[in-house]
Symmetry: C2
């Protein structure tokens, strides 16, 4: 909140923090999440609340499919070797749903699958459809990859498909001062930057970077694959347990299990697997088991604190939190806490969850053709 | 506020932020300021609000002078070559006043003049007097110098003067993680640490370090001399002006003047001096003069904002602040703002103020005897 306030005071033009926008009167800027695009992958677009919105979206969808086939596809194929018809179909459906809901604020996040090969052609198809309906689409947001190259290519694609357009190119992706200088030197076609982490936190101090990712839609688990295995999401609805060793005050390993699996019990031996490397696994017989995942919001409803917490004063709640914090730090072996070369704390998955991760991972990654 | 809250949650034992202590129920810990000690230098102790406190302090003062002469002086002279009778007298008066006001929380900041030569002997004199009256003095705080050496010497002095004492040694002074490891390695006698700047801010990000210093008591200007000239305070009640160059939107130099001097006017040539280096000075004929020192609190009363500010909404005030911030940044030449080797912005003093700084500086520093 205060970061939004002072960034605005210091010259930023808007905030994606909706509460800060409301409280301080700062212009609110933003787009949808990657998870929104992903959510269209398995299930198709969710049903609308109103029939009107539904029929409006149908009209927009027909137009978007029309423009994709008759304008975007022929315009991009030759100069860019990009086929709009081969772009990710569920991404197109996501953009249509988003544009129908926010026709005056259509800024599409294009890097969920492939910015140049899928996101931008899909954006252009929906943008032309929106313009046909009398709206002005805003543009695109790029959140990964080579921002200089993708933005200049995007600008060229915009100009080829729709000369005279005023689409903006908005870039985010852990941007900091040095990135800005480097981009300026390389040349780019970015109109606006979104700066978050590097504005609010400082690289020399530990910061907890939180993002939300989709792990399941309805009953179907889904995965977001990344080139960096540690960024690949662990799919499915899960429960998480902290397992304590022979000394019941010293925690040894955390274990994620599918929600449907039976929970681990003290004294019972259980297999703990590294989530990505199959040769790293161990048996563990915990002396104590603590469930550590606490749902805070279920089906849009914020879960109430327990009665003791509700009736406690602010001061009491702070004291309880402090006591728990100190106990948790004490439960860590010294080698996890030492400043030089600390031992990484182990986080593992059950055998069933390991199987699901690797099955979905292989399904998601098409096998490449070498020739 | 949030730093105090989360530091406490994470294991700190108290805060010196009185508001945070009140709001979150965190134990409040602290002592007086250097300026409190300094304020006794010229004028003697301020008159008390109540006669009772005054008479109590008189009793305490008599005891302190008694213990200084008969216990502390003989105990410290031989083993430490320290004379309690030669310690700074105004510091002793400050400690007496502080102990009379807070007899159950007497933690003396001992480094205003010289921790080992003055602060600690003075502390011990007042501590013995307090104990005589049935109180338990807390101990000392050291805020500068060689913390390892001073703390071990202090502990030895405590043990010589008052065996069985439980005085604590509290250290502050820009303490960070590395200082703690270094002190641990060297050996020290510190019981508690006060961490501020390095807890709340991060060295990689610019932080505005603010401290308050005494520049005048009544009608007498005073100076706090430091080995580092840039830390020496600029004495006296002042007014501060921003002088704009030929282009009235570009600021050239800030000028501090004594409150009693006539203010500078556009079109009039004025001499601007570097505050510490006499050969650095220049004439300046400003096209525009802006007074930039805005008193917020006068004689303990918080000054009201002007009517326009009072009636404005929060959102409007933020917009006004933002506009001003952007204008101020725009008024800086590019070379002040460039990321590599920025030009330092000049802050100067008038000739009269220069004279006062250097006169008080020479008066404050005794001429050393070499032999």
């Amino acid at each position: 909140m205060s970061a939004s306030r002072y960034a605005y005071l210091g010259g930023f033009d808007g905030t994606s923090n909706v509460m800060a926008a409301y409280a301080y009167g700062i212009p609110c800027r933003g787009t949808h999440a990657h998870a929104f695009v992903q959510s269209f992958a398995e299930t198709g677009p969710p049903v609308d609340a109103t029939a009107a919105a539904h029929s409006e979206r149908s009209a927009l969808a027909s137009l978007a499919y029309h423009y994709r086939e008759n304008v975007v596809e022929p315009a991009l194929r030759q100069p860019f070797q990009v086929s709009a018809m081969a772009a990710n179909e569920s991404e197109l459906r996501a953009f249509i749903a988003y544009a129908a809901a926010f026709p005056r604020a259509f800024l599409a996040l294009v890097d969920t699958y492939d910015s140049l090969g899928s996101g931008i052609p899909n954006f252009l198809s929906v943008a032309l459809a929106l313009e046909h309906q009398g709206y002005k689409p805003l543009g695109i947001r790029i959140d990964s990859g080579d921002l200089a190259y993708i933005s200049t290519q995007a600008r060229r694609m915009f100009d080829v498909v729709n000369p005279g357009n005023k689409y903006i190119i908005f870039a985010s992706s852990e941007i900091h001062e040095d990135t800005l200088y480097a981009l300026k030197e390389q040349g780019h076609a970015i109109d606006a930057f979104g700066v978050g982490t590097h504005l609010v936190t400082c690289q020399k101090q530990p910061a907890l970077g939180c993002v939300f990712k989709l792990v399941q839609v309805g009953h179907v688990a889904c995965i977001k694959v990344s080139e960096d295995p540690s960024k690949t999401t662990i799919p499915g609805r899960k429960r998480v347990y902290r397992l304590y060793g022979r000394d019941p005050t010293v925690c040894m390993i955390d274990l994620m299990m599918l929600e449907t699996e039976p929970e681990p019990h003290p004294g019972e031996r259980i297999l703990c697997c590294h989530p990505y490397e199959e040769h790293k696994r161990c048996y563990m017989t915990p002396s104590r088991v603590e469930e550590i995942l606490q749902p805070l919001c279920v089906f849009g409803e914020v879960l109430a604190m327990d009665d003791a917490q509700v009736s406690a004063s602010d001061h009491e709640r702070l004291r309880v939190a402090r006591k728990r914090c100190l106990e948790q730090v004490r439960a860590l072996r010294y080698d996890y806490k030492r400043p030089l070369n600390p031992t990484p704390y182990k986080v593992s998955v059950s055998a069933a969850l390991f199987k699901l991760v690797h099955q979905l991972w292989l399904e998601e990654l098409a096998i490449r053709e070498l020739s």
